[in-house]
């Protein structure tokens, strides 16, 4: 355990003082902090190596291309898939748009897209747009008390045999880990394409996509210790390569004339224009960093923190915690009596505590939970017991101020 605790020192921002208070960062579900290794790689790239990639014959360009392409290998082997099955995008949102656009090319008014009630807007709105374009319908899986109703979901899937199931591996608003293994295997049986939103699972669960056997999986670097402005998607190669392109431009083409253009094979055809080179290289450094940590030790540590936090929180009278507290990556989403989450979060901030409040880009979920929002404290392995104590003390003081 000491091993993992010492990793905290790799994150310079965690030593920060805000208004004379130590920072207590409990907003990793919004964006993760970055270790020195990632920061240094980006800095070194711009200081010593900066060049555009592909097509350049000069040494800087060759080197940058090698780095850029080997980053693809790094994430591919992290996810246990083939290198050519990884497409770089600007983030999970773009990945989901690319997929909703591409997959909906063969939708019609009989098509059905299933989503879970926990989805982030990024995994709702692109499918709604696709429904509007094609006449397809959106099917929402059932939930019970803030937890996916697995049996109900399976029954609904079998009944409707949707064209696509698009759902999060982990809920950003609540931290619930969804039983995607069983849902994917049902989908295999009924011919439903599976799109897994891994924005919240890549860092905490380190999924083996070959074992999961989903068709597509999307992610954002910034939620997994990497830089902003970059992310990607995995797709089984045949299915990936069969998708129509979403964006067009330079580099993704084979040949262009004023009359017509032909495109490269995947992944190239989905990456027009100058990519986020420093972002991709920085993300590979983040994955290298994660690879050095023993995954089960990391999960044990995060679970220990989570349960400590949950226990302490539950001892405070008037606190309601939402979601699945059995299968959770380390997110507590809560309210206090009828106090507004805005007031709670604003006051917590005066103690240096960074939590998120609001609907967490999951308005439909909030409606189903019958709240207008929650306060969300989300953990990562660089948090420690001091953070939990800091948070609980600040929360008690906040409650005192409000009561």
């Amino acid at each position: 355990m000491t091993d993992i605790q010492s990793l905290r020192n790799d994150f310079p921002i965690l030593n920060k003082q805000l208004d004379g208070q130590p920072l207590c960062y409990l907003d990793s579900a919004a964006t993760a902090q970055k270790p020195n290794k990632v920061i240094d790689v980006i800095k070194t790239f711009y200081q010593d190596e900066n060049s555009n990639v592909h097509r350049g014959l000069h040494t800087l360009s060759e080197n940058a291309t090698v780095r850029y392409e080997s980053a693809r290998e790094t994430i591919a082997s992290f996810l246990n898939v083939e290198t050519r099955e990884i497409v770089w995008t600007s983030g999970a949102t773009e990945s989901l748009n690319l997929l909703a656009y591409g997959l909906s090319a063969c939708f019609n008014s009989d098509s059905v897209i299933a989503i879970s009630p926990f989805e982030h807007h990024a995994n709702i709105v692109p499918w709604q747009e696709a429904c509007q374009r094609t006449g397809a319908t959106l099917l929402v899986l059932p939930m019970l008390d803030g937890v996916l109703d697995e049996q109900g979901a399976i029954a609904l899937l079998k009944q409707h045999k949707p064209d696509v199931l698009a759902m999060g591996h982990v809920s950003n608003a609540l931290g619930n880990i969804h039983p995607i293994e069983s849902l994917i295997s049902v989908c295999k049986a009924i011919g439903t394409i599976t799109v897994i939103d891994g924005a919240q699972s890549l860092l905490h669960l380190r999924p083996d996509l070959k074992a999961l056997d989903c068709d597509f999986y999307v992610f954002s670097a910034h939620k997994a210790l990497g830089p902003t402005g970059v992310g990607g998607l995995y797709g089984k190669y045949q299915q990936l390569n069969a998708l129509p392109v979403y964006k067009t431009g330079g580099e993704m083409i084979r040949e262009v004339s004023f009359e017509r253009s032909s495109y490269r094979e995947a992944p190239g055809k989905f990456e027009p224009g100058t990519p986020n080179i420093s972002g991709v290289i920085g993300f590979a450094a983040a994955i290298d960093y994660i690879n050095e940590i023993d995954p089960s030790a990391l999960q044990r540590y995060e679970q220990t923190l989570y349960h400590a936090l949950l226990e302490k929180l539950k001892q405070i009278e008037g606190i309601t915690v939402y979601g699945d507290t059995q299968n959770n990556v380390g997110v507590v989403s809560f309210n206090y009596k009828s106090e507004h989450h805005y007031d709670l979060a604003t006051l917590l901030n005066t103690y240096g505590v960074a939590v998120r409040s609001g609907h967490h880009c999951t308005q439909p979920l909030m409606k189903m939970l019958k709240v207008n929002g929650t306060v969300r404290a989300s953990l990562a392995f660089y948090n420690n017991q001091d953070d939990i104590e800091h948070f609980i003390n600040a929360l008690n003081a906040t409650i005192e101020l409000l009561d």
Binding site: Y342, T350, G358, N372, L401, L402
Partner: protein, 135 residues
């Protein structure tokens, strides 16, 4: 409530907690809006918390009349400050009034940041725009 009194109170509060306590007390003094007036058309868009705002002109006095409410305590307190600052001003005076300077001097400028979670800026912008129209 007048703005001088508020400024004095807030400048005497040391530390953020004391400041917010004062702000929430100001909010408590602001009369609650009758439920019948809490309609969506009166909502200020761009606020994460709900803010209902009505602004009109007292034709006789040629002065602004503002009533407002919020579902959060802190925003309601900030509304009390904003109302105190703008009330009884002519539209002319209101449109020249610089709320940024006021919030700066109160040490509350962060609440006027462009963050979308933070609706105070939207409220001020809406008041300014309406005052402009009433001139």
């Amino acid at each position: 409530m007048n703005i001088e009194h508020i400024t004095k109170k807030l400048s005497e509060s040391h530390g953020w907690q004391a400041k917010y306590r004062e702000i929430m007390l100001l909010g408590k003094q602001l009369p609650a809006l009758p439920d019948a007036l809490k309609v969506d058309s009166a909502l200020v868009s761009g606020c994460d918390s709900k803010v209902w705002l009505y602004l009109d002109l007292d034709e006789n006095a040629q002065q602004l009349v503002l009533i407002a409410d919020s579902d959060t305590r802190i925003v309601k307190g900030l509304l009390a400050i904003i109302i105190a600052a703008y009330a009884s001003k002519t539209p002319e005076q209101a449109s020249q009034f610089n709320a940024y300077e006021l919030f700066e001097s109160l040490g509350l400028i962060a609440h006027l940041s462009p963050s979308r979670g933070n609706g105070i800026r939207a409220i001020v912008e809406q008041i300014q725009a309406k005052a402009e129209l009433l001139k």
